[in-house]
Symmetry: C2
């Protein structure tokens, strides 16, 4: 596997993420935009991007959504509030990153997907809702309340949400509102709820947060990865 | 593939289902109890049982839960009301069928599963809730309101529910109550919701019912079958 920094710019803000690919493959292959949790770009998103390259042979881009690593929970909540409150800024950053990926000569721009975690999942759904040409969108422990400025009817690809049934950030009311929105938009969507899982169930560092809201769950991690694999094989090849 | 009628008796009632197996295999293998929709034992359940034998090599028993084919919707609702209102009768019929399957010399009684559709899904969950030794329980467009007489804490196997997000028989309130019950019981459970799917989405005859509530959905049918396959490979081998 090879990797290099890839910087994209939106409205004067430089966002440097990690582009990863398998140098033993040739020809254009699917490209997957990987969007980190609200804690910022770090090991978790990069490792998952690497795994996508290793297991599927695609090109992955672990983008940086914030341009910095939030120092603490206040900073994290600040970023979420700032980007949800400014859809043009959020969508602009995401579109710049997707374009940066799609322009790579080894990427097939007709086979793009976005995979997001936590607020990155929210972001992936937002990007799809702008009408971006994404064949698949996967959200892991994804926040399901977006900017309210997009139209589910604009979603072109297949959507898979993998969430914990015990994720306190996604209440039954939020689930229901999201479901109604997707149904109204005629989206091809699936929601897998993992019964024992909480927020951040794919992140081995989640337990260290010491909160009941967060927790790594090996079963849900494995099952959700396999659900993503099935969708990728179906739509990206 | 071979098949033969298999009659089990509960409290004087004879229930004749179809036992199906691959005669080219030897040794004890997993046994799957297949429970039909509320329309009674017919082609749909038998075809799915055959497919389980063909694809996984297990032994399948498409049981008869009613002992008759309900003549019309009144008769269907009558059976659902009768069995939900008499848990001992429901559980006794299911236990008799599971025992009939487990006693087959080609079945490994330590690797049993139950797969149910519609009210058969409700029934499979009920059977698990009696503490039956089922390694996996799968419900397709399953009703999620049972007799209220079982304890989720008694469920020993892994539970997978594959339902349509547009199934009008499973309201958000019912989903939430079911989720709370499974969480309280500490069950290893998953719920896959298929966004475009309605009730009976695995049944090609569903559209002929001419009701908005029912509909075949090829995507949900395929995806839910693959989800069952992943669970079976995980727990039955």
């Amino acid at each position: 596997m090879q990797s290099q920094d890839l910087t994209v710019v939106h409205d004067g803000t430089a966002l440097t993420g990690r582009l990863i690919w398998d140098e033993t493959r040739t020809g254009r292959r699917p490209g997957v935009l990987v969007i980190h949790e609200a804690t910022g770009l770090g090991e978790h998103a990069i490792e998952r991007a690497e795994r996508i390259v290793r297991e599927f042979g695609y090109v992955a881009y672990a983008m940086d959504e914030f341009g910095e690593t939030p120092a603490d929970m206040d900073a994290i909540l600040g970023w979420i509030g700032k980007l949800l409150g400014d859809p043009a800024e959020l969508h602009g950053r995401l579109a710049a990153a997707l374009r940066g990926l799609a322009e790579q000569p080894m990427v097939d721009p007709d086979r793009l997907a976005a995979v997001g975690h936590c607020f990155g999942g929210t972001s992936a759904i937002e990007l799809a809702g702008t009408g971006a040409d994404l064949k698949a969108v996967v959200g892991f422990h994804a926040g399901l309340q977006g900017t309210g400025s997009t139209d589910a009817g604009a979603i072109r690809g297949k959507l898979l949400i993998c969430n914990g049934a015990q994720d306190p950030f996604v209440t039954p009311e939020i689930l229901q509102a999201f479901s109604n929105e997707m149904i109204a938009g005629g989206v091809d969507w699936q929601m897998n709820l993992y019964g024992r899982a909480r927020h951040s169930f794919t992140n081995r560092d989640a337990d260290a947060l010491g909160s009941e809201a967060y927790g790594y769950d090996a079963d849900a991690d494995r099952r959700s990865w396999e659900a993503m694999r099935a969708l990728f094989l179906d739509v990206l090849g």
